[in-house]
């Protein structure tokens, strides 16, 4: 960990109006939760549907994509990354710091709001709220590692990430069950499934498999990012 890199990255991600964009997304979830609470339609089934659809399936990949690619891709694009790379800092420290910043951002803007929304919706009924919080946290870590690696590998990181998160996990997931099982979203849901008694939370993946795959994706993503950052060629920005 390098505090200076972490500070610069935080400033780049949260400076000016960007924090408002990041803040706007979770506020919508909280507003929805409050609206459901006020109209009295917050039974357990609806609450889990909201947390699952809006929390795990929408907010989490979106925030992880913004944070995961945002901590590295703009610097690589405009060549500023050279000022960091030419300092005597090991590459794995750079990647781990960036990854840590991304995870902190995802926790702040996706996991924490989901926890609050869960509290508003169900309180602590059937352990739904803590289960989803833990599920989103582990899912967020895996997503962040995946997208940080993508940002180092490709200039089209955001688009490729979108294709994965939307086309693979959502569009193909509806038609092909195999694609659904091979997605971070289902693994995170599996963790949430194991922690709650609510029968409305269902995942297509068993917990041990999900845990192994989550750990594997996180480790491979981080390692890949380190390896690729070692031999990064900085071409002129388009």
């Amino acid at each position: 960990m390098n505090p200076t890199i972490a500070m610069i990255t935080f400033r780049a991600m949260l400076g000016r109006r960007r924090a408002l964009l990041l803040l706007g997304l979770p506020l919508l979830l909280l507003a929805l939760a409050a609206g459901l609470r006020m109209t009295g339609t917050n039974d357990l089934e609806i609450s889990t549907v909201v947390l699952q659809r809006f929390g795990i399936a929408t907010l989490l990949p979106l925030l992880a994509l913004i944070a995961g690619t945002g901590v590295l891709a703009p610097e690589i694009d405009d060549g500023q990354i050279m000022y960091v790379l030419t300092k005597p800092i090991p590459r794995q420290v750079i990647v781990l710091t960036k990854l840590a910043v991304a995870i902190v951002l995802v926790t702040l803007f996706a996991v924490l709001p989901a926890f609050l929304a869960g509290l508003v919706l169900t309180g602590m009924t059937a352990q739904v709220t803590p289960a989803f919080t833990v599920g989103m946290l582990v899912g967020g870590i895996a997503y962040s590692a995946l997208f940080v690696a993508l940002a180092v590998i490709s200039r089209n990181a955001v688009t490729i990430g979108l294709l994965y998160a939307l086309v693979w996990e959502t569009l193909l997931g509806n038609f092909a069950p195999g694609a659904k099982s091979a997605s971070v979203q289902q693994w995170a849901l599996s963790v949430a499934d194991a922690l709650t008694d609510a029968s409305t939370v269902r995942s297509t993946v068993d917990l041990p498999v999900a845990l192994v795959l989550l750990a594997l994706v996180t480790a491979i993503g981080t390692a890949l990012a380190v390896v690729r950052l070692r031999s990064l060629s900085v071409a002129s920005a388009e």
Binding site: G70, R155, L166, E238
Partner: protein, 292 residues
């Protein structure tokens, strides 16, 4: 006491024909349309738009193959449902390409250079809007046309109905293109930082559709179908589908629509307001950026 004089040092004036406003508009339009597909830029910029365009063609090809093999005309995807069915791919195209049109000139502070030439602010904005709308129209209309041609070749019954449905589908595509281009350009024009524009456009699409679907499900569970329909106005694909269903008489491709012709007219008014509002906002944005 100084005396100064302006000397005529013999520069020639341009006395030739001025090409005029239409030429400016056309040049800007062509330039932006090419940019939307990455033409005239490195191969890296072409990969994504053409990959997405190829993905858009796949279901149409598959559908025609299914009709040809099974002889079941129902296997042909409805022309009006094609865009809503593939809305995720269209949204990704919009998200990746609208910053190309709206953000790059702002990011590199080159907008004043356009306005140092005889380019009107409104022309500049209209050309961008028209170019992105045309690009989106091409993205949607080409596979729909392929479907229609495939239907003709495989002799799907009722050629008259097919032609009418096809023309209705094209009108729907134009509306989809205009509404989506307006939304995408406005969001991208306010997030010039690289990567953020893409994320912001997709965030608006994903969050609006997620919220709308959840509210529609709850409203339907309480048999409040009117509310479910009206909420559909809040997300772009459902909004245009309301116009298609209520005014063009197509089958519904979205979850719920507000009742009757009133619903369709209101949806069409919302579409028009979106396009007009986007033009006004973009005009103000680029006018301001052109001053610095």
């Amino acid at each position: 006491m100084t005396t100064s004089a302006i000397h005529d040092i013999g520069y020639r004036h341009y006395d030739g024909r001025r090409l005029g406003r239409a030429y400016v508009l056309r040049s800007l339009f062509v330039h932006n349309l090419r940019a939307a597909f990455g033409l005239g830029r490195p191969a890296r910029a072409k990969v994504m738009p053409f990959l997405l365009a190829a993905i858009m063609m796949l279901p149409a090809v598959g559908s025609i193959a299914a009709v040809a093999l099974t002889k079941q005309p129902e296997a042909l995807i409805r022309y009006s449902s094609y865009a809503p069915l593939l809305q995720i791919v269209i949204a990704i195209f919009l998200a990746t390409q609208s910053p190309v049109l709206a953000s790059r000139e702002l990011r590199f502070h080159v907008v004043p250079m356009y306005f140092s030439r005889p380019v009107g602010h409104l022309d500049f904005v209209l050309a961008k809007l028209a170019a992105l709308a045309t690009a989106l129209l091409a993205l949607m209309a080409v596979p729909v046309t392929l479907l229609y041609v495939g239907g003709l070749v495989t002799r799907v019954p009722g050629p008259r109905d097919q032609l009418l449905h096809y023309l209705g589908g094209l009108v729907g595509c134009v509306l989809f293109a205009l509404v989506l281009a307006s939304i995408g350009l406005v969001i991208a024009a306010f997030t010039p930082r690289r990567g953020f524009g893409v994320a912001a456009v997709i965030a608006v699409y994903m969050l609006s559709s997620a919220v709308v679907v959840i509210i529609q499900e709850l409203a339907e569970a309480q048999t409040n179908f009117a509310l479910a329909g009206w909420v559909g106005l809040a997300t772009p694909f459902n909004l245009v589908d309301i116009v298609q269903v209520r005014l063009l008489g197509t089958e519904a491709a979205s979850r719920a629509q507000p009742p009757g012709v009133t619903g369709g007219v209101v949806a069409l008014a919302v579409c028009a307001a979106l396009v007009a509002g986007a033009t006004a906002v973009l005009y103000a944005r680029f006018r301001k950026a052109g001053l610095s």
